[in-house]
Structures are given as structure tokens and as C-alpha cells.
């Protein structure tokens, strides 16, 4: 056993849920209007966003930065244009639309009048990244208050203009209305010649969800047409004058080191440039095909190292884990009980497979670097570039156009940084597009894991002890939502053979699979209905409500049909509460499993955009089907063996079962994110449905890599 000093938290900050970190940004309050032009603005400084406990730990210098640095703002120009600035990015979660809805609602303007500038380190405030379902719960309320504050400012200006005392004013379609004489002042007129900015009033009155007219409705994707006509430019579509295409030499396997390299053949090709900086070797050429050919002509010899393969994975994770923390008190209850379960669950690595592979475009103008890249952390890429090129951040601009998805898989900016290195060397703008194979081999995976569960029941049929160890996959969702008596729940760090990082819902999928499967096994052991057993143990009323609503809609308990199996599972992740019911059919001869029907109930507080929320839930559940049933990364000695879409199966049209989504609109509760939580209950619901139909207990994700169920026993 060894203690692991895992360096991945610095690289992938979300996975191990690190402390907040602050960074200085270029734009302070003093330089604001120089930058933005005249107008009205409301803003928030970083200290308003960070928890006070974090602010207290900062040095005086850092405190100054935090106090002065803008964290989000809304600006109304002299022309009446409303611009919202946020460091968050759009990767398909349609947050550009829902944030615009929130602002339009408070400012009484049509949604078309709002422009969002997102994820541009030169224009938008610092942001740690778009992940963890934080945009809606954090940025939503900030922008709502920012919009309401700027609205109050405009009302004050209008009152002054009309020489009125404190009177309530009516706003409509971008105009403030005089209370009696029918006069109106447009936002543009009010902003004319002004340079007014005010800090967001934390206590400003905002429109309550019951009265929402734009927020809370299914506004279509704001720039939706551009995606249907091919007009939207993803980074992979962008082109700069004089741009060349770059390719990077990759090792044959993880951990391989370069012994020798001959680049002379590649170098002899006209218009090809070879860049060699230590082990970083790349080529540029006028077309991507020529770059590919040049790369293939590099003769490199590599030294590969023996390392664990998939067959040894789970044993390896346990062997390499830090020492297990025992809890004798819990063991004692477990040992004294008559009814108990001790079982282990396993989880393979899976890949994010964003349909747009990593893409980066870089341009140097003197010592000024601009990188366009699809990343969930543009400011993180800026920091990495600062370290690589040893130039101040002010000279590095990272821009993130709306990108072809991430799912937690684009926290890094490799392609952008590679493009920047090549561009610096060849003196031209360079675009680096990863192939699908590179994306599979050199990005990072959802962690694999081993989950050990030991639990027991008391004479009252209630869980009286609960031990839970998660090796490697993570802490998210590791706490059980049930009353369990004595408990010992631990995450055991280990050494991952493959590069791993964030994935939608992090380790919740793994932990909730083990928890919810075990809950069913306990219910079955006693002959109690799995829904009743859960409700008997649930502490969280909100989760219980979702569970009941989902079961009701599925007609749980009253739909039993011979030959079919029914399963249920639930979980709470990042402010989202989800339950899933599944109906499966197993072919008696072929043992083929068919997922007939899924009902998914979800509560994430007040709903901002019902259609987009439903879309997120559906997307989560169907993507979750892949990891539940057939997705897994195969590898041997550091080499990925299925690095293509013909060998790594992802869900397609024919995999979609009948799917019902039940949304609970809790207008009384703050909105939280929805892009993660709905994924967690689909695997255990299916697992439990298979158990219900066949008595076969499955312990590994994916459960049915070949689509066929093994025999019982």
C-alpha cells in the first residue's frame, strides 16, 4: 500500500472539489468606462461572489484585487444596447439563452435586445470555469440582481429627469413611463452621456418566479438558426489570414518516452515546417492533409513502459490505494446483525466523446498571444499559457466561441496551447484539430472505480450499519441519503493507470449505482417493495417527493407484467433531485435485454426554461444509458484499444427507449443546474429492473457490453 500524491487536482480542479481560488483579472473598476464606453452599469466585485471564509484567508494585496476586480456586470450603452458579461461558456447547455432570459425579465426588454459576451479573458470577468452545475445557481442570481440594480438606477435617473420625488414607475419594452403625463424615456436616453456604475444592491427587489414572463418559459436557443445553416463558427471552423494547420507527434502509449527522432523527411516537404522543442514535436502545413502526411514521415523511436491493463484495473486500484480507515464501532454492529450484505461494485473508464474534438487556433501579434479554443475553463487555459510562455496574463487572450460540447471533458485547453507553441515557432497563425483518435487517446476519462459496501439490518428491518469505500472514482454522491445507523463512508485515493478527470456528475454515478443497487438488494432480501423500503429510510423530504412523483407517473406497483422487470432508483446531486423508474424485458432464449421504458422525475428548484431543462434531463439520461449499458474504454499497457467511434459505442437513435420526464417546478426554491444530476439514477434503475425480472445481480458498469445478460448464479 502506498500513499498517493495525486497531482490531478491542480489540472482538473473540479474532480476533487478543491477550495476556491482567486486570480487577478485585467479589468478593475477604474478602467471600466475607458473600456466599455459611456453608459450605465451595475457590477459585482469578486468578494461579493466568494464565500466570506475565503476572503478572510487572503493577504491584504489579494484582498485589494478581490475588492476591485469586477466579477460580472451588465452595461447599457448610449445606444440602449444591453450587454451582459460573464466568464461562463456555452457548450450546449443553452446557458446563453437562460441567462439572457433572466436579464430580459428584470429589464422589461425582449430577449433579442440582450447580448451575452461569454468566456473571453479580455472582455469578461474572471471565472474558474463552467462546470459543477454552478452557472444557474451562482451566475443566475448574480445577473438577476445586476439587472434589477441597473433597472433601479434607470428609475432614479428618470425621476430626476422629470423632477419627481419617490414614485413608483412602470417599465415596458426598454422604456420608463412617466406616472401621469404619458411621457417616456428610453434606456438609451437615460444612458446618454453618463458614466454611472454602481455596485449591485444585494437586497434589490427582483421579480419573483410566480410573476416571471420571459424567465420560466421555453425561449428557443438564442442563436439557434446559425447552427442549422452551418453559419456558426466553432473553433474548428475558424480561419485566419495566413493560417497553417498543425499536427503534434504523439507517443504510441501513455508514459512512452522518446529515444530518437528523425524529422528530415518531413522537413524536406515544400511548405512544411517542423517544430522541435525537446519532446514537443509538431509540424505545420498549408492543409490539414499535408500536415498529416508530414507527421507520418517523422521517424520516431519510443521507449514504452509496462503498466496495468484493463484486466488488472480493479485489483490495481485497490492495491495502490491509501490505507483503508476502519471503524470498529460500525464493524461491531455489522458483525452482530443476522441480516447483512457485503458486496463490491466496479466501474470502467468511459470517454466523454464530445462530437467536436479538441480544437485550437492561435495567433501571435508581437508578444501578444490570442488563443481560440473550446474549453470549459478559458481563464485556466490563460494561466497555463502564462506558465508555458512566461509572459504576463495581460498579453494572453483566450476566447471560447460556443463549442461542440464538453460534458466535463474539456476542462483543459491542450489543442489551443499546442497551436500557440507551433504558432510562436513558425510565425504564422496555426490551427490544431485533434482527430477522433487523439481525442480518445490524449484527452482524459471519467475515472474508473471500485465501491465496497457492507451493511446490515436490525430487527426492526431498518439499516443499522453502513460501510462504504470508494476507490479512485471520487467523493461526489458518496454520502447515502438514507438513515443508516452506524456508518463509515470513505473515499480512497488511488493511482489511476489512465489520465482521468471530470465527467458529468463526477463520481455520483458510481456511488449512487452502488448505493441504490444495495438498497434494492436489502429490500429484496426482506421481501419489501423497493419503493417502500427507500421511503422508510429517506431523510430528505425533497428527494422523497421526487421519488413518489416519479413512481406515481410510472404507475409503480400496478403495472407488473409477466416477463418484465421493474426497477427504481434515486439520488441528489448538486442541488438537483432525481428519481428514475425503468421497465426492462429479457428475451428468454437469447437473454438480450431491452430497455422498454424510463420515467425520470427531476426537481432543480424554480424552472427557468422548461424546454431546455427537459432537453438537459433527456440528454443526461440517454448519455447515462451508454455508461450504464455498453460504454467502456479498453486498454493494454498504456495503449487505448478502442479509440474510434466504430469500436467505442455511444448511444444512437435505436437505443432510445420510451422516455417520460416529470419536471417538478419548485417556484419556492432557488434554481440549480440540471446538466448533471439526471444522469445518476438511470444505471441503478435498470440494474434493479433486471434483478426484478431475473434475480441476476449485476455489479459492474457497463452492465451489458454485449447486450446479453449472463445466466443467474
Amino acid at each position: 500500500m502506498k500513499k498517493i500524491d495525486n497531482d490531478s487536482p491542480t489540472r482538473y480542479p473540479e474532480q476533487y472539489e478543491l477550495d476556491e481560488k482567486t486570480e487577478s483579472v485585467p479589468l478593475g473598476r477604474r478602467s471600466f468606462f475607458k473600456y466599455m464606453g459611456s453608459g450605465l452599469a451595475s457590477f459585482l466585485v469578486l468578494s461579493d461572489v466568494l464565500a466570506s471564509s475565503i476572503v478572510e484567508t487572503l493577504s491584504p494585496d489579494e484582498k485589494f484585487i478581490v475588492e476591485d476586480t469586477l466579477a460580472a456586470w451588465i452595461h447599457i450603452s448610449e445606444e440602449g444596447n444591453i450587454t451582459v458579461f460573464t466568464g461562463k461558456v456555452e457548450v450546449g447547455q443553452n446557458i446563453r439563452t437562460s441567462l439572457a432570459q433572466i436579464v430580459a425579465e428584470e429589464l422589461f426588454v425582449p430577449i433579442e435586445n440582450i447580448e451575452l459576451i461569454m468566456g473571453d479573458t479580455a472582455l469578461t470577468p474572471y471565472d474558474r470555469g463552467t462546470y459543477g452545475s454552478l452557472t444557474t445557481p451562482q451566475m443566475g442570481p448574480i445577473l438577476r440582481r445586476a439587472a434589477a440594480s441597473v433597472k433601479e438606477l434607470m428609475k432614479e435617473l428618470a425621476l430626476k429627469e422629470w423632477n419627481l420625488g419617490q414614485t413608483s414607475l412602470h417599465l415596458e419594452k426598454g422604456q420608463v413611463h412617466h406616472p401621469t403625463n404619458g411621457k417616456k424615456l428610453s434606456y438609451a436616453e437615460l444612458a446618454k452621456g453618463k458614466k454611472l456604475m454602481q455596485r449591485i444592491n444585494e437586497n434589490v427587489k427582483v421579480i419573483s418566479p410566480e410573476n416571471w414572463k420571459i424567465a420560466g418559459t421555453s425561449v428557443p436557443k438564442v442563436n439557434g438558426k446559425d447552427f442549422l445553416t452551418g453559419r456558426h463558427k466553432y473553433v474548428s471552423d475558424m480561419k485566419l489570414p495566413g493560417m497553417v494547420y498543425g499536427k503534434i507527434l504523439r507517443p504510441p502509449a501513455n508514459g512512452a518516452t522518446l529515444i530518437s527522432v528523425d524529422v528530415s523527411k518531413a522537413r524536406s516537404i515544400p511548405n512544411v515546417q517542423v517544430v522541435q522543442e525537446g519532446d514537443f514535436i509538431g509540424v505545420t502545413a498549408p492543409t490539414s492533409q499535408a500536415a498529416m502526411v508530414a507527421l507520418a514521415m517523422i521517424d520516431a523511436k519510443w521507449n514504452t513502459v509496462a503498466q496495468p491493463s484493463r484486466k488488472q484495473l480493479f485489483q490495481y486500484l485497490k492495491d495502490q490505494a491509501e490505507d483503508k480507515e476502519q471503524n470498529p464501532a460500525v464493524d461491531k454492529v455489522f458483525n452482530a446483525s443476522d441480516q447483512k450484505i457485503e458486496q463490491t461494485f466496479y466501474l470502467d473508464y468511459i470517454a466523454h466523446v464530445p462530437l467536436e474534438p479538441r480544437a485550437g487556433l492561435a495567433q501571435w501579434e508581437g508578444s501578444q498571444l490570442t488563443i481560440w479554443t473550446g474549453t470549459q475553463r478559458p481563464f485556466g487555459v490563460q494561466e497555463e499559457a502564462e506558465q508555458i510562455f512566461k509572459i504576463p496574463k495581460e498579453r494572453i487572450r483566450v476566447i471560447m466561441p460556443d463549442t461542440g460540447s464538453g460534458y466535463g471533458g474539456k476542462h483543459t485547453g491542450e489543442a489551443g496551447l499546442e497551436a500557440a507553441r507551433l504558432s510562436k515557432a513558425v510565425g504564422k497563425p496555426v490551427k490544431v484539430l485533434w482527430t477522433r483518435e487523439e481525442e480518445f487517446k490524449w484527452a482524459y476519462f471519467r475515472p474508473s472505480g471500485v465501491m465496497e459496501v457492507k451493511c446490515s439490518l436490525g430487527v426492526d428491518h431498518r439499516i443499522n450499519s453502513w460501510q462504504f469505500y470508494n476507490y479512485n472514482s471520487g467523493t461526489a454522491g458518496i454520502e447515502t441519503p438514507y438513515r443508516v445507523g452506524a456508518k463509515n463512508i470513505k473515499f480512497q485515493r488511488s493511482d489511476s493507470p489512465l489520465k482521468q478527470g471530470s465527467y458529468r456528475a463526477l463520481a455520483s454515478t458510481a456511488n449512487i449505482f452502488a448505493i441504490e443497487s444495495t438498497m434494492d438488494d436489502l429490500a429484496v432480501m426482506q421481501g419489501i417493495d423497493p419503493l417502500d423500503f427507500r421511503l422508510n429510510h429517506l431523510e430528505d423530504k425533497r428527494l422523497g417527493d421526487v421519488l413518489k412523483a416519479t413512481a406515481d407517473s410510472f404507475s409503480w406497483g400496478s403495472v407488473k407484467k409477466d416477463g418484465l422487470g421493474y426497477g427504481i432508483a434515486c439520488g441528489a446531486v448538486k442541488g438537483g433531485y432525481v428519481a428514475t423508474c425503468a421497465a426492462v424485458e429479457i428475451h428468454p432464449q437469447s437473454r438480450e435485454v431491452k430497455i422498454l421504458r424510463l420515467t425520470v422525475g427531476f426537481d432543480c428548484g424554480a424552472i427557468i426554461n422548461p424546454a431546455h431543462l427537459k432537453s438537459q434531463v433527456v440528454g443526461c439520461v440517454l448519455q447515462g444509458l451508454g455508461g450504464a449499458l455498453f460504454e467502456s474504454v479498453d486498454f493494454r499497457n498504456g495503449e487505448i484499444l478502442n479509440p474510434s467511434l466504430s469500436t467505442y459505442r455511444v448511444p444512437r437513435f435505436q437505443d432510445v427507449p420510451e422516455l417520460e420526464v416529470v419536471l417538478l417546478d419548485r417556484k419556492d426554491l432557488p434554481s440549480s443546474g440540471a446538466g448533471e444530476a439526471p444522469i445518476v439514477a438511470v444505471a441503478p434503475a435498470i440494474r434493479n429492473a433486471i434483478l426484478n425480472a431475473t434475480r441476476v445481480k449485476l455489479y459492474q458498469l457497463p452492465m451489458l457490453p454485449k447486450g446479453v445478460l449472463p445466466e443467474a448464479g
Binding site: V91, G92, Q93, N94, S218, P220, K221, G224, K225, F227, L228, T229, G230, R231, H232, K233, Y234, S236, D237, K239, Y245, T287, S288, Q289, A290, V293, V353, P354, L355, E356, P357, D402, T403, G404, S405, Y407, L433, T435, R436, E437, A611, H612, S615, Q616, V618, G619, C620, V621, L622, Q623, S644, L645, S646, V650, P651, R652, F653, Q654, V656, L659
Partner: protein, 147 residues
């Protein structure tokens, strides 16, 4: 070599026999068709070649000489969206949108061949197109609106 794309004749470089996708994207700046897999199994690069939907990533450009290629950019007529684009927009089907061009081409092809497909026929016909955001039900729903 001359190629006919969206009704226009273009002269393109064919040294090294690049794929149709590379030529569209790099030489003609028609970036609607996307690279997704490089082996013709994800559908993101689909375009029409003489009326048939083809994965342009595995179609050598030299094979489309004397044929008519239509890309997603060529579906709009007089500034008006194709019916399928219109229904997709109204159904607000997509999330990241990277698969959208390929989905549009595949659905136009489906309705050309079978103007009244059942749900199952839609799923079967669209099986070659991946949406990693898994907006499949919304896409099926959108196509139904065009029937």
C-alpha cells in the same frame, strides 16, 4: 479539378487526393459539414452527392467530379430556410449543435425517400448520425413536424 457545390462551379486543388470534407472546409470555407469521426460512422460530415447523403470525410474529392454536391449551406433558398431547418428551429431540438448539419442532411434525405416515415422508420434512417448530447427524441419530434 472542377467541382459543383451548391450549384456553383469551383476549381479545387486535389494534390494528395484529399477528402471532400477537407476540400469543403479548407479550400471553399464551407464549414457546415463537420469532422466527427473520420471513418463515416457519426454522420456529422454528411452532404448530398447527386442527391444521396454521403459521409464526406471518407469521400475522396476526386470521386465527385461531374457530380452535384449540396451542403447544408446550400439548402436555404432565397434566404428562406429549408422546411427541415425550419422545423428543427421551431422544435429547438439541439444543445451544442455540432451534429445539426449532418442531422439536417440525413433528415432531408429521409423525407425525400419516404415522405411519411413512422417513428421507427425515422430512428432506423437516422441511426448513422450521432448526437452526443443525446437530443434524439427532440430530433425525432422535429422530423415528425415536417411530415
Amino acid at each position: 479539378m472542377r467541382v459543383n457545390i451548391n450549384g456553383m462551379e469551383h476549381t479545387v486543388q486535389v494534390t494528395g487526393n484529399p477528402s471532400l470534407l477537407e476540400v469543403l472546409r479548407e479550400q471553399l470555407d464551407l464549414t457546415g459539414a463537420k469532422y466527427g469521426c473520420g471513418e463515416g460512422v457519426c454522420g456529422a460530415c454528411k452532404v448530398f452527392v447527386n442527391g444521396l447523403p454521403m459521409p464526406s470525410c471518407i469521400t475522396p474529392v476526386t470521386s465527385v467530379q461531374d457530380k452535384k454536391v449540396i451542403t447544408v449551406e446550400g439548402l436555404e433558398q432565397d434566404g428562406k430556410l429549408h422546411k427541415i431547418q425550419q422545423v428543427f428551429m421551431e422544435a429547438d431540438a439541439f444543445q451544442c449543435g455540432y451534429c445539426a448539419s449532418g442531422m439536417v442532411i440525413a433528415s432531408v434525405a429521409l423525407l425525400d425517400k419516404n415522405p411519411r416515415p413512422s417513428d421507427q422508420e425515422i430512428k432506423d434512417a437516422m441511426q448513422g448520425n450521432i448526437c452526443r448530447c443525446c437530443t434524439y427524441p427532440q430530433i425525432v419530434h422535429a422530423i415528425q413536424q415536417a411530415i
